[in-house]
């Protein structure tokens, strides 16, 4: 009688007490939401950057050090996106669990499809190139699924008692994402092959997923602000190819895109690169709802086909 009850107590002792939810920090709001989708109320999750902020240029504020100090898991975009600000934060966090290479440092880019991995010699004459490939990969919903899977696997290892809960949350997310993908694909289907221009190279995964064709960028090179000669070339190219839609991220200046739009009779569309870029975009599925609706109405308005 006494032995089993002690065993039961031992089991109980191993089950995390209610309220001791895992504390997850993600570098972007997209990763934070994907973590929330699978972690539900059994975890707490916070994002360092905001969705309307250029994720290359986040400031390494000491208040972020405090968040990282308490983190049980750190989820990062990787591919050098955070190279300018995350390393000093991690180093000052005094948190051994989340150091790069440690168990609780999850690089979300390791199981997704990465585009634009440079081959051959690269130099900064090409602008601020990412030697490990384009880090804006979360803008393909298929990659969102891979990220969620990587997160659910990690969470299950960290809290085995909640593994079943996380698995069912993941299955539910997977189902909702699949339904939404069918919807987005149907909405975008008539616009396969439509040519667009984007400000920065933030959208290769998005355009590949939905079959769009980027013919040029407002930036002459990644990270380099627009120059008059490049802008003139871009206008000429857009006119020649009858390109009407210019996609801009919310953190870039609209002056050059607007003047390009005036010259070409086109339209500037400020798409959301991340969850939280606009108030109404509160989760990963709404991010694509927002972007798909906005770009399709721009296509309709400009007669792009």
């Amino acid at each position: 009688m006494r032995l089993p009850s002690i065993a039961a107590l031992a089991v109980l002792a191993c089950v995390p007490r209610a309220g001791a939810a895992l504390n997850v920090v993600a570098t972007t709001e997209d990763l934070a939401d994907l973590t929330r989708q699978v972690g539900g109320e059994r975890i707490k999750v916070e994002s360092i950057s905001r969705g309307y902020q250029d994720p290359h240029f986040v400031e390494a504020k000491p208040s972020f050090i405090l968040k990282l100090a308490k983190a049980d898991l750190l989820v990062v975009v990787g591919r050098d996106l955070e190279i300018g600000w995350l390393p000093p934060l991690i180093q000052q966090s005094r948190n051994s669990k989340i150091q790069p290479g440690a168990d609780r440092y999850l690089d979300a880019s390791l199981t997704v499809k990465i585009l634009e991995i440079p081959t051959g010699q690269i130099t900064r004459a090409m602008g601020d190139v990412h030697p490990l490939g384009n880090p804006h990969y979360w803008l393909d919903p298929g990659n969102g699924r891979h990220i969620a899977k990587a997160i659910v696997d990690k969470l299950s290892l960290m809290a085995p008692a909640d593994a079943a809960y996380f698995a069912s949350r993941y299955a539910d997310f997977d189902k909702r994402l699949a339904e939404a993908e069918t919807r987005w694909d149907a909405t975008m289907a008539p616009y396969k092959g439509v040519k667009i221009v984007t400000y920065h190279r933030s959208w290769p995964n998005f355009v590949e997923r939905f079959g769009l064709d980027v013919i040029g960028y407002v930036e002459p090179k990644p990270g380099i602000p627009p120059s008059p000669s490049h802008t003139l070339d871009l206008i000429r190219e857009m006119k020649a190819q009858k390109v009407k839609v210019i996609v801009v991220e919310p953190y870039f200046d609209l002056k050059t895109p607007n003047s390009v739009a005036r010259e070409t009779g086109g339209k500037v569309v400020v798409l959301a690169p991340s969850v939280g870029a606009e108030k109404e975009i509160t989760d990963y599925l709404q991010l694509f709802d927002y972007d798909v609706n906005l770009i399709v109405s721009a296509f309709k308005e400009t007669g792009s086909r």
Binding site: R2, R94, V112
Partner: protein
């Protein structure tokens, strides 16, 4: 003042030492088994009930998982998440463990009448070479070597243990002292070409307070703000501190408080204290006391186009000499505003007495304009007016600077 400063130094160091003692680790989420194991019958019934509850929860969980898996299979083949299409690209063989290497060139020119001992007309002031890498699972190392016109020096070179027990961020090696803000900054992270007069007069000039030693920093947990205490012990070999014997170490204490005032604005406050032998005689010492305040504003949506930074630092020095002690005070105020993606303007006011001639007060003012073609280079012009206490008329100068970095992408300064 003298007694106050040394007592404050003592207190601060004691506080650092106390903080260094690791706090007892709380056994998170675990019931102490000893208390309940010896319980009487009713407790056993309760325990059994809980045991059953645990088992039930476990099975419910497993069933939910199976149902979920079944459902996923039923809803048809969505892209199989198990696929890993792009693992991290393999880096080239033997270079994998090479440290990150970068070189920063700092070219400074000057025109106009020099106030005496000023910058040469055209000068390759320094090239800084950095090597940075992780040492092992416990440490990382950073080396910054400066190649000047006529010297090669180790600007900094230290090992960092970021995850020692007790939250102690420990650095061992040659470092810039954690005294105020500008002392810790490398030339390429300053907003101006030259260092303020107070650095030159009271805290060791261009090289600043930098020495070989041990630094320990700990966060002080509190519900309100970021608070970090740093304690450092140095050999006592810098422009300010010179130890006559092995036992005469130099000590630095620093307390930093930081608070966000919303997502765009934040405030950063610091207090510093330094103590060590000054080498005038065998038992004379210098004490430094510093305060600094920084206000930053950077709207997140427009973060690459605009920001504002306002900073002030004040330093008090008390240097013992054979005949008594000399008090001097100095400081600067600096305002910087970014008005375009590539353009930043700044203004700085300097005023400082001299450590060993406290009656003499030097003054200066600067306007600074910086243009950044990219993240990796900048061109800067600075108009500087200096009134040295021992020279009749003020000197007007134009300084200009080219800074350029190649190699590994360093962290952006904050």
């Amino acid at each position: 003042m003298r007694r106050f400063v040394s007592r404050t130094a003592g207190l601060l160091l004691t506080a650092c030492a106390l903080l260094a003692v690791p706090l007892p680790v709380r056994a998170a989420g675990q019931d102490p088994p000893g208390e309940t194991a010896t319980a009487a019958l009713p407790d056993e019934v309760g325990a059994l009930r809980r045991e059953i509850e645990t088992l039930r929860r476990d099975y419910e969980g497993r069933i939910a998982a199976l149902e979920a898996r079944l459902h996923a299979l039923e809803t048809g083949p969505v892209a199989a998440p198990a696929a890993a299409p792009s693992p991290a690209p393999p880096a080239a063989g033997s270079k994998v463990f090479n440290p990150d290497v970068a070189a920063i060139g700092n070219f400074v020119g000057a025109a106009g009448r020099s106030p005496g001992g000023g910058e040469p007309s055209l000068n390759m002031q320094e090239a800084e070479i950095s090597f940075q890498a992780v040492v092992d699972p416990y440490a990382r190392a950073d080396f910054f070597v400066t190649l000047g016109p006529d010297e090669v020096a180790l600007e900094e070179g230290y090992i960092t243990f970021p995850t020692l027990p007790g939250g102690l961020l420990t650095k061992i090696g040659k470092m810039r002292d954690a005294f105020g803000k500008v002392n810790g900054q490398h030339p390429h992270t300053l907003g101006f070409v030259d260092r303020p007069l107070v650095s030159r007069n009271l805290t060791g000039g261009e090289d600043g307070l930098a020495d070989a030693g041990i630094s320990v920093a700990r966060l002080i947990p509190n519900p309100w703000l970021f608070l970090e205490a740093t304690g450092q012990v140095y050999q006592g070999s810098s422009e300010v501190f010179q130890a006559p014997t092995r036992g005469d170490l130099a000590y630095v204490g620093h307390l930093r408080a930081y608070q966000d005032l919303g997502e765009s604005t934040n405030i950063d406050l610091g207090g510093s204290i330094a103590y060590g032998h000054n080498g005038v005689t065998d038992d004379t010492t210098t004490r430094l006391l510093g305060v600094d305040a920084t206000l930053r504003w950077k709207p997140l949506r427009r973060s690459i186009y605009t920001h504002l930074l306002a900073r002030g630092e004040l330093t008090w020095s008390r240097a013992d000499v054979a005949s008594g002690s000399l008090d001097a005070v100095g400081g600067y105020g600096y305002l910087e505003y970014q008005f375009g993606r590539r353009w930043t303007a700044g203004v700085r006011y300097d005023s400082s007495e001299r450590a060993y001639a406290p009656g003499l007060r030097d003054e200066g003012g600067s306007f600074i304009l910086t243009y950044r073609p990219s993240e990796f280079s900048l061109v800067r012009a600075q108009y500087r007016r200096t009134s040295l206490a021992d020279i009749d008329r003020p000197a007007n100068e134009l300084l200009f600077q080219f800074l350029y970095a190649i190699g590994a992408h360093g962290a952006h300064p904050f």
